[in-house]
Structure formats: structure tokens, C-alpha cells
Symmetry: C2
Subunit: 317 residues, 2 copies
């Protein structure tokens, strides 16, 4: 049994632990696909971020029975070839919930509490107590999405004694949400959205779902945060929303075009805070991913139980 | 019955609500002590921040039966005269717990997640994904203090799935702390303190309680946050701790000298983040203070029940 990993810089302690826990398995930890490619034809299991596979490589990997994707996104996987060969695919769905929830709360606190102004005061050696720092505690948050990440945000928001409202296709009630509504009811709840957090994936239903009327419906002290996908709303709509003071601020981690072009007006807009698609980044990412892998490897070797986060190659998720 | 308030800028809605709810009471909302002083001799109840009273004014206030202090600090109250006259004193103890807990979590997130660097990238229109953002989730927090504010911080920390360790004089277990220790045991727990939050008041026991050895005992990635009192530790000790990398960063809201002098080395130290004693500031402060007052006014008028936050003038707390 041979496991080939194309994940760069897997920490030594993880490599050692896997080798110790699975004596019968040969592990090859490679530094990226260029190195891993040489061993593909012997691999029974392949560990990847999912962006380096193509039909040709699947063909090369004659022994391949299982692909472990250390990512939630699977857009680039050659599912047709995978399906034909009956290769198993699992991913790390849910792994982003904790860092992304922490990101959202962190950014909302930062904007509400004037972090940028204090950075400036510090630079100027200025003892300035005139800022009014808003609290997030006790306010109302509307989350667009009610999945694992959305629930993670709502869970923390509730710890801050916020009221949490979730909006999803079904409108079904979900943990950590005080109330949930259907997307069609979005307009009814936006006037409560002092904090509006979008964690929607990009699908035909969510593309450009938000328009200027949605921002007009929010309170004028609202802070909008998007860490889902950049095509939820046009950049220009966000600019109009903040420049006309329909809302107070926008925190953006995702954009229509990434990297955000150097001359994009967002950079200069005071009421926009930009992070470079880092909401899901975490030093705990690889360790957590390999924990899921290890659990699945036990299942795979023992040939009983259900693999975690198994993907249906027909649907692609 | 006359209530005189020296609190500046009491929101209209609070004034209206009190007048409506207490028909039998005459309220005089004054803009500070200069204006309030004129009415002191008729006041049955006086509302103050507690810094404007002196023995002379207590003497003038011949009718005074109750002083409501809209503050937690009572250092400047003329307790001798108050005690002689048998005047009741209440304060707003506990009112800082929520904003200060939010402040602490906000600042720890901000430092752990490199907020200052992202502010800089934004200024430079720089899409930089190379920063490693540490998570607070799952880490360990040591809180010096286990009172209302400390518990508020620990409660939020637990929501982030942090382990919380409290240190107090008694070492008694308290809500939201996984473990509690006595001050004498401080050294044993500091090596676990990835986040060390100080919320101790200034007493003879806490003055200069921390020395360089304490910082040496913390992990070198520790972030130290002081929002208690500035005389917990010498400025120079903090500077040495960060400059010698005994700890990674210090977040300071309180200082030995306030305002922090313009030429103080803290301002230029990259590993120090300064806020100008604003951790307890909150736009909800006055409303929450008047909620406590209103509750107490009912008790006071009905002459039954126990006043909230009643102070013993002999002890001064």
C-alpha cells in the first residue's frame, strides 16, 4: 500500500505520526506535483489540494483507488475520468468553519472598534480618547448562508449575546440561529442586519444575488462582510452603498477579480476594508486536514465504516 | 422628591423615560457639577461620576439621602462625611464587564491576525497572502483576576474553545474558568499562558506584582494584555520582555503615567499595541448606568427590597 502526498511542507511530526500509526503503509511525502508525479503510477492513495490533477495524470495513476483532497473546493477535479475508474474521492469539507468564523468576528470587532484609527494614533504618538467604539455585543447579525461556516459565525455571535438571523434556500432552522428565513424573504430581514455576513458559495442561484436595493434596506450603521464568493454582488454596488452611506462599512475578503487589481477603487475607499482572500487560511489547516485523512485511512484499510466527506463524482460535491 | 444629575449629555430618551415612569419625582438633568451645584441643597438624590464631590458639597446638600455613582471607581468620594450623614451610596459595579471583555477579545484577535500589517497592505494596494494569521481558538488564556470582568473575558474565550485559567488571591473556582489558582501559584501556570490578560485593580498586593521573571516564564509566542491598572508592572519590564522576545507582543490600555507621554518608548515599539485607556468605554455606558439607577429608584421609593451595588462607606466598596 503506497500513499503519495503532493502537499508541500507537511510538518515532520505529522509525517512521523502517520508512519508510526500505519506500519503496513509506505508514505511518500513530496514537495508538490512535480515531485509527486514520478510516483503517481505506484500510488494507491493520492493526497492533493485538488488543483494539480488532470485526465492524463489520472491515467498515469494506474493503481489509484482513493484521492484525498485537502481542500473544500473541487472545481478543477477531472471527475469524468475519476468516475470511470471508480476512484474514491474525499475532501476536508467543514475544515474552514473555525478559522472563518474567527475571521468574521475579528473583522467586525476591528471595524466597530476603529482599529485603523488607533493604528494611526499610535504612529503619531497620539493619546486620543475621542473615538466612539461601537460594541458588537447585543446587536443583530444576519448571515447569508446557514451551513457549517455560517453556524460557526452564529455560534460565536451568540456568545457575544447577538441576535442571529440565518438566510438560506430552505429557510430551515439550524443550530445557533435565533431565526431562519428563506432567500425570498431576504428583504424582510435586512433592516435588522446591523452586521450582515455573507458566506454563500457561488452557484447560479447566488451569483449577483445582492443589488443596491438590498443595501438600501440595511440600517445605515450596518457593516457588510463578504467571505463567500466575490460574484455575490458587483463591486460597483458595494462602492455605491458605502459612498451613499446606505451602509457604514464593507469588509471584503473575496472579489469579482482576484487578486484585486492594484488600481481598483476599493483600495482607496475609507469605508472598505480589504483582506486578500485569507479568511480560511489557518496555521491549523494542514494538521486538521491530515487528522481527517488519518481517520479515513483507518476506515479505508479496515474496509468497514463510512469514509468522512465522501464525494459523489457525478455531482462533484 | 428631587433627583439632581450632574451627568453630561444624558440622552433625551432616558430623561423622558424617567420622567414618565416616576411622575412623583422631579428630575433636574444638569450639564456637569457647575450647573448641578446650584441645586445641590434641594437634592434628595444626586447622580454623579463620583469625581466631583467633596466635603463642602456634601455639607451644602442638606437633603441628600442617596448618591448614585455612575462609575465603578470611588477613590475620590468623601466617605467620612457621607458616613456621618448616613447617606446611601450605590455604584455601577459590573457595568464594565461586557465592553472590557469585548475589548480584550478584539485586541487579542487583532494582534494574532496581524491587523496592523493588513492596514499597511491596504494603504499600499498590496495583495499580500504571505502573513501567517494565528488563531486564538483552541489556545490557552491565563487571566489575572477572576471577578466580573475576568469572568466576562473567560466566558468569551471559552466560546472560542480556549482553555481558561484564572489567578486570584483566594484561588477559588469561578464560572467560565477551567482552572483557578492562587496568586502564589502564578509561576506554575504562566508557561501555559499563550494569552495573558490582566484585569487586576490597584491594591497594595497587586502593585508591581509582575516582574521580568514572570514574562520569562510565559511561552515566547505569548501575548500579554493589561487593562487593569498601569502599576501592575513597570513599563521598563514590559519593554525588556518584548525586546528580548520573552513574549511576542504586549497590548496595553493602562500605564504607569496617563496620558502616556508623547516621547515614551512604547509608541515606537513594534511589539507593543497601545489603546488610550478605552477598554471600559462604551456607547452603552450611560444607558446601562441609568438602567441600574432606575431599578434602584423603584426600590428607594417603595422602601422595600435591597438597593443594587450598595456601598459600605466604612470600607469604601
Amino acid at each position: 500500500m503506497k500513499v503519495v502526498s503532493a502537499i508541500k511542507r507537511v510538518p515532520e511530526d505529522i509525517q512521523t505520526r502517520l508512519k508510526e500509526n500505519f506500519n503496513e503503509v509506505e508514505f511518500l511525502f513530496c514537495h508538490g506535483i512535480e515531485e509527486a508525479e514520478r510516483y503517481l503510477k505506484e500510488a494507491d492513495v493520492f493526497i492533493t489540494y485538488g488543483e494539480d490533477l488532470n485526465p492524463e495524470r489520472i491515467k498515469q495513476a494506474r493503481q489509484l483507488k482513493w484521492i484525498m483532497v485537502l481542500s473544500a473546493g473541487l472545481d478543477k477535479m477531472p471527475f469524468q475520468e475519476i468516475q470511470q475508474r471508480g476512484i474514491l474521492v474525499t475532501n476536508v469539507r467543514g475544515i474552514h468553519a473555525e478559522p472563518m468564523a474567527e475571521y468574521a468576528i475579528s473583522m467586525l470587532l476591528q471595524v466597530s472598534r476603529n482599529a485603523k484609527a488607533y493604528v494611526e494614533f499610535e504612529k503619531n504618538h497620539e493619546w486620543n480618547r475621542r473615538m466612539i467604539n461601537q460594541e458588537i455585543s447585543g446587536r443583530t447579525m444576519v448571515v447569508l448562508g446557514t451551513g457549517a461556516i455560517a453556524q460557526g459565525v452564529a455560534r460565536l455571535a451568540q456568545a457575544f449575546r447577538m441576535k442571529t438571523i440565518g438566510v438560506s434556500r430552505s429557510g430551515n432552522s439550524k443550530p445557533h440561529f435565533d431565526e431562519t428565513y428563506k432567500v425570498e424573504e431576504l428583504h424582510q430581514v435586512l433592516d435588522q442586519g446591523e452586521y450582515v455576513v455573507a458566506v454563500l458559495p457561488s452557484t447560479k442561484d447566488t451569483q449577483y444575488l445582492l443589488n443596491l436595493d438590498h443595501f438600501k434596506a440595511m440600517p445605515d450603521h450596518a457593516i457588510f462582510l463578504n467571505m463567500g464568493r466575490g460574484d455575490l454582488v458587483q463591486s460597483d454596488v458595494i462602492l455605491q452603498a458605502v459612498q451613499n452611506s446606505y451602509i457604514a462599512h464593507a469588509v471584503l475578503d473575496v472579489f469579482e477579480e482576484e487578486p484585486l487589481p492594484e488600481d481598483h477603487p476599493f483600495w482607496e475607499e475609507e469605508k472598505v476594508t480589504i483582506t486578500p482572500h485569507t479568511s480560511g487560511q489557518s496555521p491549523g489547516y494542514v494538521p486538521r486536514g491530515f487528522e481527517i485523512f488519518e481517520e479515513n485511512l483507518h476506515t479505508f484499510l479496515n474496509k468497514k465504516g463510512e469514509l468522512k466527506n465522501k464525494i459523489d463524482p457525478k455531482r462533484g460535491y
